[in-house]
Subunit: 198 residues, 2 copies
Amino acid sequence: MSRTFIIVGSKAVTEPFSLNDLAGAAGRMDLLCRSLSAAFFLSHDMRRDVKAYLYLMGPPSPPRAISFRGSELKYMSPDERNIAGLIRKALGQEAIAHDWHGSTPGVDICSKGFDELVEEVTATSDPGRPTLFQLVEDGAPIDEVELGDDPVFVLGDHVGFPPPIEPWLKGWKKVSIGKRSYHTDHCITVVNHTLDRR
Amino acid sequence: MSRTFIIVGSKAVTEPFSLNDLAGAAGRMDLLCRSLSAAFFLSHDMRRDVKAYLYLMGPPSPPRAISFRGSELKYMSPDERNIAGLIRKALGQEAIAHDWHGSTPGVDICSKGFDELVEEVTATSDPGRPTLFQLVEDGAPIDEVELGDDPVFVLGDHVGFPPPIEPWLKGWKKVSIGKRSYHTDHCITVVNHTLDRR
């Protein structure tokens, strides 16, 4: 039983950034930080069964993928500034290459493309199950969908999925948490709540 | 039709604070900022039918109540730092008194006690309806509760409701979003989603 979230940051910068301007110069890094907070945190506890990936597409060196494994995460607090510090540290690693490279405990970074990232994520899921979901407004109501034991959800940021990403989402089932359009972090909270109730 | 959230910050400071240490020196102000973000923000839109109150009980000058009216809010962005700036500005007003005093558009501050605050909030709701709800883990499942048109929800922070507050919550119906204990901001997101689906 696991839950995986892939969050696409279409404008999020791919070099170390100021912690004092997450929403501006860092390309809506605030939203990605809150999304990780929503993915991992319970009150006084952490969801160890969650994995999350940020896929950063902003300047100057896209793409960068950063993985967060709840089973091994340390030093993460739920506030934006703390999480931004972990992201900044990962982006500041020397020689970020195609293969994963460790940053802080439970946090790794690489320069894989989205297709390779998806291939890797899905290779670790049970191949017999329909585990890949896009979270969009016009999808099937999530309460009526069989999510399986190891669902993988992909979410866009404030501008949705950029064109280079869309072809890679063709096989992903569209699910919806409602007609109103929510922030990415709020979507993740609702998905976690939906899974908690099952 | 309106939604009101009262969020008790048991340690949140009652004077201007550094925006660089919201989770520490400011007494978990980060959590209160995310709670307001969850209360008000839709993707590219704001919930104009929401009102939220922070009730701050930390040093040096408790209590301070800050009200946020979605119908009139301006200059609020969803990131912690922006919202913290609005709270800090309110706390920095000269001569904060018993009665409400305007800070930025849609934001007011006063030094009323919790009992007076509740009296004021409920006086503006339809008195014939059971509109007051405490969000706690062991309450009635929220999906099975008649919430009415103008529900008022009170939520604690990371330490729950402090003893001075509890006597004032006796008449409030306990509702729950599940057995797992969530952060305050995540609770608000789930409550908004629950109400959106009705």
